[in-house]
Amino acid sequence: MKQIVEARKIKKTYGARGNLFTALDEIDLTVQEGEFVGIMGPSGAGKSTLLNVLATIDEPTSGEITIDGFTILNMNEEQLSNFRRDKLGFIFQDYNLLDTLTVKENILLPLALAKIDVIKLEERVEAVAEKFGITAILDKYPYQISGGQKQRTAASRAIVTKPSLLLADEPTGALDSKSATDLLESLKELSEQEQATILMVTHDAYAASYCGRVIFIKDGKLFTELVKGKSSRKEFFQKVLDVLSALGGGTNDII
């Protein structure tokens, strides 16, 4: 099986000398093609930092990262941009849709940027919109649709280029439970049926229970890892809760 993400000894520190703060402390992470991996941990543990570093939006202080066979740390700004455009897809908690574009235009944006032929582009958008059930709202603007629809639009945009890696930072954070479930089902389907590789940061055990594997971080260090294996989603959910309480503080202050 193909390795999509290989990160070794990633370290990220903030602040100047004398007042150093280590957000990530020598983290190792490997993700195989088609895996749906969750990242959990208390607030401030470094989850978003890790995701941003893998997303090439942020630079690690030291360490090595290979994504889909490319070593990303030596790339220049333009190469990184193209890499993000061609290889990565993103979903963020606050959707990050462009207000001036319709749902359809938001989805096709990455394809337009890659200068894909119009006919092919329209086909792709149709297919993806159908998958996320937003065909009916394609001509609406973001301010005209609900949060769940916005997030499904963002997810459509993230996968429309068939990226090697899909990164999601608390995608269900702002959604009601019905919308959240819809989105998680879609993501799960994507990884099972289309071998999409997904990395999802979440603080919600319910969301994490949809993953095939969950890694836990605390204070910038890898704490433990849970694999779903053959267990049911309900059993896995319980296991996640157990680890969370072991992590300390209980679920309540994990925000």
């Binding site: 997303a55 939006i57 700004e77 333009e78 990184l80 941009s81 193209n82 890499f83 993000r84 455009r85 061609d86 990565l88 993103f90 990050n96 849709l97 462009l98 207000d99 001036t100 574009l101 235009e105 096709l108 944006l109 990455p110 394809l111 337009a112 940027l113 200068k115 119009v118 582009l121 329209e122 603007y141 301010y143 945009r157």
Partner: protein
């Protein structure tokens, strides 16, 4: 800590936000003060006292400037407060009393205003010195204008701006009362709607513009009545204003929507982003664009016309007063006195001296000639040829006995085909002359009616037997543009009877130059102010927009748009925002200038192309400066 301290701390802590507002206030004060100090300048006061038009021009300009400065400050003030609503909301949330916040904002604005007033007057003093020097240079006089600080100017500036500052400070005080808390937090976040346009308004917009252009450009009717002028140009003005507004609020939107139709092009690279952002913002900007386009049109037109006048002055003076000195002969004693005066001026030696006998006759033309001819002035060809040699203009002529050549009356636009082959029957009913041509170029200073006819020497002698000719003496000297002293004396001696203009070239030239320079200066000054202000307004707008769309560009960067592409789309949008109103302004002003130059080209000399193109180029260059600055700042905000 007193309120006063809090307000002071506010300014210190948040200086860059205040800077823009402060700079616009200082800018307004500087230009107003500069203009007012010039107005109180002694030399300018003189010309104001002497000429009603100049007086009117200065009055109107300073009123316009005052209005403009007030609007500009209020505009920057509202821009400034809009960016601070959230901060004000926060104070309120923290439990400060409304009254306290209001007072704080009042003090803050007042303090800044006072500081701006001091700084503005100091810089304005320096700047008015610079502008005085420019004016002196334009007028071509050496050290005739004294420069001094004018107490009246300072007083007037302080009075005017104190009122404006108090008004804006009260606005600040009322901010907290005008809005609900929730509104303060949603200052910038209004629902962005896609603009809807009807085909009707698009067509109407284009139609109105075409109609206004047509009305302005069509030639004058036979009889030019006041009613016609009012109706024709009144309608033209109104339809231009409405048409321009519809152009920005409908036509441009329709065009952008049309552009969107071609998906293959629209869905390519960043076109999608640029176009949709423009489309979303244009309706909100339509009013500003209209104002800027119209303001630019007016400025370019006025400046172009004024510059044409200045530029054409020499040619115009030469046409009005062809020789350095001219006078009618009044006996040997008088003539000798003039001649020795001119000879005494060793710095300007005589290069040519001609005696011109002129016979005034009455007669009938065989064609309708709209110039009112009660008298025609006959010039013998020999004398005319001497004039040609003396002035080194035109070519030497020869005429047979019954031939004649007309000289085009000044300030008219006839051409030679009107005269060729036509005849003149003199009132004595004994003589007939046939016109073989019409020439340009006059022989004597202007005096109405200005209709000279060149005839053969034989014919002239014959006529001169019956009617005694008037004899004119004309002199051409070297360096006629600097004959101040001698010209003054000649003017005194000759007096105002001989011609309707000055008998010496220098005086005509100099007066025209000073008058035109002053007009040019005023329009140039106002133009510069409008230009700077419109440029700044677009700059402000774009910066507000940059702050609002910052997140959009962050998203784009995240999904793989590189910095260069983001920069490109910012450039494209900014170019559109600057270029569109400017282009409309230039097209409008071309139409207006075409009209103006038809109207006055003969008054100011034919060559209006060079000055008008210069005026437009100056406008464009300054706009390009603003464009570069805006792209730079926008990019710094949105593309880090």
């Amino acid at each position: 800590m007193t309120l006063f301290d809090l307000a002071k701390k506010n300014i210190q802590g948040n200086f860059s936000n205040y800077l823009v507002y402060f700079v616009s206030m200082v800018f307004s004060i500087i230009i107003y003060f500069t203009f007012v100090s010039l107005q109180y300048n002694e030399k300018i006061q003189q010309s104001i006292l002497l000429s009603n038009t100049m007086n009117f021009l200065f009055m109107a300009s300073s009123l316009l400037l005052l209005l403009f400065v007030a609007v500009f400050i209020l505009y920057s003030n509202s821009f400034f407060t809009r960016n601070r609503k959230r901060e004000v909301g926060l104070y309120s949330l923290l439990g400060l009393k409304k009254k306290t916040i209001g007072k704080m904002l009042f003090y803050e604005n007042f303090l800044m205003g006072m500081l701006a007033l001091v700084v503005g007057i100091i810089f304005g003093t320096l700047l008015s010195k610079l502008f005085t020097m420019i004016l002196v240079k334009l007028m071509g006089s050496s050290a005739e204008i004294e420069f001094g600080i004018s107490i009246e100017a300072i007083g007037q500036t302080i009075l005017v701006f104190l009122i404006i500052i108090i008004i804006t400070s009260i606005q600040g005080y009322r901010l907290i009362y005008r809005f609900k808390l929730i509104e303060l937090f949603h200052a910038a976040k209004k629902g962005e709607l896609t603009p809807k346009v009807s085909i009707g308004s698009t067509v109407l917009g284009l139609l109105l513009l075409i109609v206004s252009y047509w009305l302005i450009l069509r030639s004058f009717p036979e009889e030019l009545t006041e009613g016609y002028i009012l109706a024709n140009y009144g309608i033209a003005l109104v339809s231009m204003v409405i048409g321009t507004h519809l152009f920005f609020s409908s036509v441009v939107i329709s065009l952008l929507k049309l552009y969107k139709r071609n998906k293959a092009r629209y869905y390519k690279g960043t076109n999608l982003i640029g176009t949709s952002q423009l489309l979303h913002r244009i309706q909100g900007n339509a009013r500003t664009f209209t104002m800027i386009a119209l303001l630019s049109a007016v400025t370019i037109s006025l400046f172009g016309a004024a510059y044409s006048g200045y530029y054409g002055n020499e040619k115009n003076s030469f046409e009005m007063v062809p020789f350095s000195y001219s006078h009618q002969s009044k006996g040997d004693e008088f003539d000798d006195q003039i001649e020795s005066l001119i000879q005494a001026d060793k710095e300007h030696p005589i290069t040519a001296q001609v005696e011109l006998p002129i016979v005034e006759v009455e007669g009938q033309l065989t064609f309708t000639f709209s110039y009112e001819v009660t008298a025609m002035k006959l010039v013998p060809v020999k004398a005319y040829n001497e004039v040609v040699k003396a002035l080194q203009t035109g070519k030497v002529l020869s005429l047979s006995e019954d031939e004649a050549i007309a000289i085009k009356p000044r300030l008219t636009e006839y051409n030679s085909s009107l005269f060729k082959g036509e005849q003149l029957h003199l009132s004595d009913e004994m003589h007939e002359l046939t016109f073989v041509d019409m020439l340009e170029g006059s022989v004597l200073p202007f005096d109405y009616p200005d209709f000279y006819i060149i005839v053969s020497d034989e014919f002239f002698t014959e006529i001169a037997n019956d009617i005694k000719p008037k004899l004119y003496k004309v002199y051409e000297v070297e360096g006629e543009k600097s004959t101040a002293v001698t010209s003054e004396k000649i003017n005194q001696l000759v007096g105002k009877e001989d011609f309707q203009v000055y008998p010496s070239f220098y005086t005509e030239y100099k007066e025209g130059k000073e008058g035109n320079a002053l007009t040019l200066f005023i329009f140039g000054f106002l133009g510069l102010v409008f230009l700077a202000a419109t440029g700044s307004i677009i700059y402000f707008k774009q910066l507000t927009e940059a702050n609002e769309t910052k997140t959009s560009y962050e998203i784009l960067r995240k999904i793989g748009v590189n910095k260069r592409a983001v920069r490109n789309t910012i450039q494209m949008q900014t170019l559109f925002v600057f270029g569109l109103p400017l282009t409309v302004g230039i097209v409008h002003s071309s139409v207006i200038l075409n009209f103006i130059s038809n109207f006055i080209s003969d008054l100011i000399g034919a060559n209006v192309i060079v000055p008008i193109v210069t005026a437009m180029a100056a406008f464009i260059v300054i706009y390009i400066g603003y464009y570069i600055l805006t792209v730079h700042t926008y990019n710094k905000i949105a593309n880090k």
